[in-house]
């Protein structure tokens, strides 16, 4: 422990509804039974992590108007499962993704404060806005917001919740803004951390401003070293603009893992994981988004189709953006050249393109790399995405975490009765007052 390292923070992402989760593995457990969540939480808590992170999706994904059957489907209600987990964990934070679009502020504020009090100050909210009519079809207000408005509404929702969270039991407050008009009396006591921790993932300029102004953690997509540093620098400037300390906003990019006894073994494993994630039919599904049309009859293990991409003809509940038809055609032409040169199949390319940033190596290599990235401020740690439910992070916890602890870069135990915000070591952002309404 001769060197002084910045302290690392980890969140544990429960593997969910996407191709990252390998359901075909014999060790893959239930995505829905409580026992899976309990075990997942135990492992994350054994790893002394800051919080468990749950995503949300409020409509089953579709492909060509039919429910997508290739990936994991089905998940519990986010806040409900976190409440149950609060009863079987002691220290770890519980962060759920909840949309600002299909929830009323008073209801959402009360659910999160209930979770916060029941967990003794361990609740967090990953703020997202839902912008598609696809999801809206399941809710009373089936409409969706135009893109620029989603951030106005998101800011108002955060401000509204903060205003509600600042009231004491029995105190009445009135929300009066562009989107919200309500009067509510507080039904709950304050939680030990004052208000739940806020997490956000927006990568656009507006999204970054929301983060810099309001939140405690950014769940970023910038999991590589250089892009991570660039993102950090950009956020630091925004934080300064809003009068906040850089250390009060943690950046925890999503990352997957492949651990091996040797580097070669780890690389082999990473490749095996990706192949398990991208089945033949899944590769076709992925490539249909590039080609913009159905690819029925195409052999995933054969060469690329000889026809060019077209403008999209089908919508899905998935949101990759591969550009317009010219960009996609250019990409396909580049792949064709590579495919011919290296003998890559359609599936090989899908496997390669699907991959998220990964930490691949021996436990020592992975520990070194994490320490380097955190010390050099490419991030403050990671949101770890396991590939198998519920034990996907066990190997990391048992093999990598002890090395980080030995090197003094990571806590060895939870502080007594710490709140989630205390685990993160950050001060809450000053609340942003709800703005005077400019009703349209």
């Amino acid at each position: 422990m001769s060197e002084q390292h910045r302290q690392i923070h980890f969140a544990a992402h429960f593997p969910g509804v996407n191709q990252q989760t390998i359901w075909s593995d014999p060790n893959a457990g239930s995505q829905i039974e409580f026992e899976s969540f309990r075990r997942f939480a135990e492992i994350a808590e054994r790893g002394v992590m800051d919080y468990i992170f749950l995503a949300e999706g409020l409509r089953l994904r579709e492909r060509n108007g039919e429910i997508l059957d290739l990936d994991v489907l089905g998940r519990p209600n986010t806040v409900s499962i976190l409440s149950a987990l609060a009863a079987v964990t002691k220290h770890i934070g519980l962060v759920g993704t909840l949309t600002t679009t299909y929830n009323e502020p008073v209801d959402l504020a009360r659910q999160l404060r209930s979770l916060d009090v029941l967990s003794n100050g361990r609740a967090g909210w990953n703020v997202v806005t839902t912008t598609n009519a696809f999801t809206g079809a399941n809710f009373r207000k089936g409409d969706h917001l135009p893109y620029p408005e989603r951030y106005l509404r998101a800011q108002e929702m955060i401000s509204a919740l903060e205003q509600l969270w600042e009231t004491e039991l029995g105190e009445t407050t009135t929300l009066d803004s562009r989107y919200f008009q309500a009067t509510a009396t507080q039904t709950l006591p304050a939680s030990p951390q004052g208000r739940p921790v806020l997490v956000q993932a927006g990568a656009s300029g507006e999204g970054r401003d929301i983060a810099a102004r309001n939140v405690d953690v950014v769940f970023s997509m910038f999991g590589e070293f250089a892009e991570g540093q660039k993102f950090r620098t950009d956020l630091d400037e925004r934080l300064e603009h809003f009068g906040r300390n850089a250390e009060d906003l943690k950046i925890l990019p999503a990352i997957t893992l492949a651990i091996g006894d040797t580097e070669a073994e780890a690389q082999e494993r990473a490749q095996a994981i990706r192949h398990a994630q991208v089945s033949g039919p899944n590769a076709i599904y992925f490539m249909e988004q590039i080609w913009g049309r159905e690819l029925g009859g195409v052999d995933p293990d054969g060469p690329l189709p000889d026809f060019d991409p077209v403008p999209p003809t089908h919508a899905t509940g998935r949101v990759p953006h591969y550009g317009d038809v010219e960009e996609r055609t250019a990409l396909v032409n580049q792949w064709r050249a590579e495919s011919e040169a290296k003998g890559l199949s359609l599936r090989d390319l899908a496997v390669r393109e699907y991959g998220r940033p990964s930490l691949v190596g021996t436990p020592e290599q992975i520990a070194d790399e994490i320490i380097r990235r955190v010390d050099e401020r490419a991030c403050d740690g990671f949101t770890l995405v396991g590939d198998i439910v519920p034990d996907g992070l066990a190997e990391f916890v048992d093999r990598v975490v002890p090395i980080l602890q030995e090197r003094g870069a990571y806590r060895t135990e939870y502080p007594e009765n710490a709140t989630l915000r205390e685990l993160l070591g950050s001060a809450a952002a000053p609340s942003v007052p709800l703005e005077t309404p400019e009703r349209v």
């Binding site: 409580f34 149950a84 009863a87 029995g170 009396t185 039904t187 033949g280």
Partner: protein, 404 residues
């Protein structure tokens, strides 16, 4: 499967008497107090614990979101049914369906839900909506025509809400998840059914995000005081809670319920009928602590006791005798509302319950809550005949008897 006499405990903050906050020692803002209460009721073999809920304060007591609280209690209890309250005029049926389904997973088959069509003006204000009806009992003082219009709207919305929740629970067949390696398919999409529901009040298109819960259809409770709510219960619920004495005799209410069930043409599994009573249990050994004295103390602290349900007050012996008399009328259960949450629950468990057991009220057996409540297994409506059917449209079709 048994079909005996069920016992429910209704928890509302510090107690059902407004004076309970001042007189009692239950701390509804403290999670540990709820865990202790639920565990005591669980160990005693009480069949369900219902949690009152509202977006506005319930008296002066603190109140947790009932879905958060019951999910938190689920892993800390083993047998008791957990019943959060969903207000159908304020919530999204999609969220309610997944929250109850999740509770059924976290409790391993012990979830239920009480549907409540509306509440007080303060609750509507909390979601920025104009209140159209207010408290239904107060609204009954309105001119008949106005009352009927208002009630039709609210109950029409409630019926749609319940229908959507049940459709969402059935939207996945039990074996929809196939994990078929040969075809790389996680699910069989033919076994998932989008409700594609379009109603007058809202529409919900897609299937639930949560697979069908362990019980298939967690039991639905409804508290009803008059004819339209009786029909609402007959269309939506598995268990209706009624309030004899305040709304006519038990016989009159049962006749009205039967008429309501017939008016909506309920077919299949009949509605279970439970009575709802406030209870206050005096200490038989303390001459100065009789029921009247305890009630007077509570009244002094919180004002005269007013309730939509009757009150059974007395010594444990008296309370048990009264409950056994009710049981002997052939009703299916009772839900007791302790005037002071901790004290009256403790007395009920330690003194009244043993007398009920002696009187033949057995602890119900069954693999899940439905079975313990004597409800038939819930077949999925997309592949078989559901436990019951009824004509939703007739809940609000004719309300002339309300004015009678």
């Amino acid at each position: 499967m048994t079909s005996k006499f069920s016992i429910g405990l209704a928890a509302k903050g510090a107690g059902w008497h407004a004076g309970a906050d001042a007189v009692g020692s239950f701390a509804p803002q403290d999670p540990a107090a709820w865990a202790k209460l639920a565990q005591a009721a669980d160990e005693a073999g009480i069949d369900v614990l219902t949690i009152e809920d509202s977006l506005a304060p319930l008296g002066t007591s603190a109140s947790f979101d009932s879905f958060m609280l019951t999910n938190w209690l689920a892993p800390q209890t083993t047998r008791i049914g957990l019943v959060p309250t969903a207000t159908t005029s304020l919530l999204e049926p999609f969220h309610t369906a997944t929250a109850v389904a999740t509770l059924d997973y976290t409790s391993e088959g012990r979830a239920a839900v009480r549907l409540r069509t509306g509440g007080f003006a303060s609750e509507s204000a909390a979601v920025g909506r104009e209140d159209t009806l207010g408290n239904i009992r107060e609204a009954r003082a309105l001119p008949t025509e106005e009352f009927e219009r208002l009630i039709a709207d609210r109950f029409g919305e409630g019926v749609e809400f319940a229908e959507v929740v049940r459709l969402l629970w059935d939207s996945w067949e039990d074996d929809a998840e196939i994990r078929d390696l040969a075809t790389s398919r996680f699910i069989d999409r033919e076994r998932i059914h989008n409700p594609e529901f379009t109603g007058k009040h809202f529409s919900v298109f897609g299937a639930s995000i949560t697979p069908r819960p362990p019980q298939g259809q967690p039991p639905v409770f409804s508290l009803a005081h008059t004819h339209t709510p009786y029909r609402f219960a007959a269309v939506t619920a598995d268990v209706v809670l009624i309030t004899p004495e305040t709304e006519g005799t038990l016989e009159e209410i049962r006749a009205a319920l039967a008429a309501g069930a017939s008016a909506v043409d309920r077919q299949g599994s009949p509605l279970k009928v439970w009575v709802d009573y406030n209870i206050l249990i005096a200490d038989a050994d303390d001459a100065d602590d009789d029921a009247a004295a305890r009630l007077a103390e509570l009244d002094a602290a919180g004002g005269e006791f007013v309730s939509d349900a009757g009150l059974i007050a007395g010594t444990a012996e008296q309370v048990a005798t009264r409950i056994l008399e009710l049981r002997d009328t052939g009703i299916d259960g009772i839900r007791v509302r302790p005037l002071v949450t901790d004290r009256d629950t403790e007395a009920f468990i330690s003194e009244v319950l043993p007398k009920l057991r002696d009187g033949g009220v057995e602890v119900a057996e069954g693999a899940n809550l439905r079975e313990r409540l004597g409800l038939v297994p819930a077949a999925n409506r997309f592949v078989a005949t559901p436990p019951f059917t009824a004509n939703a449209a007739s809940v609000t079709a004719s309300t002339e008897e309300i004015s009678a």
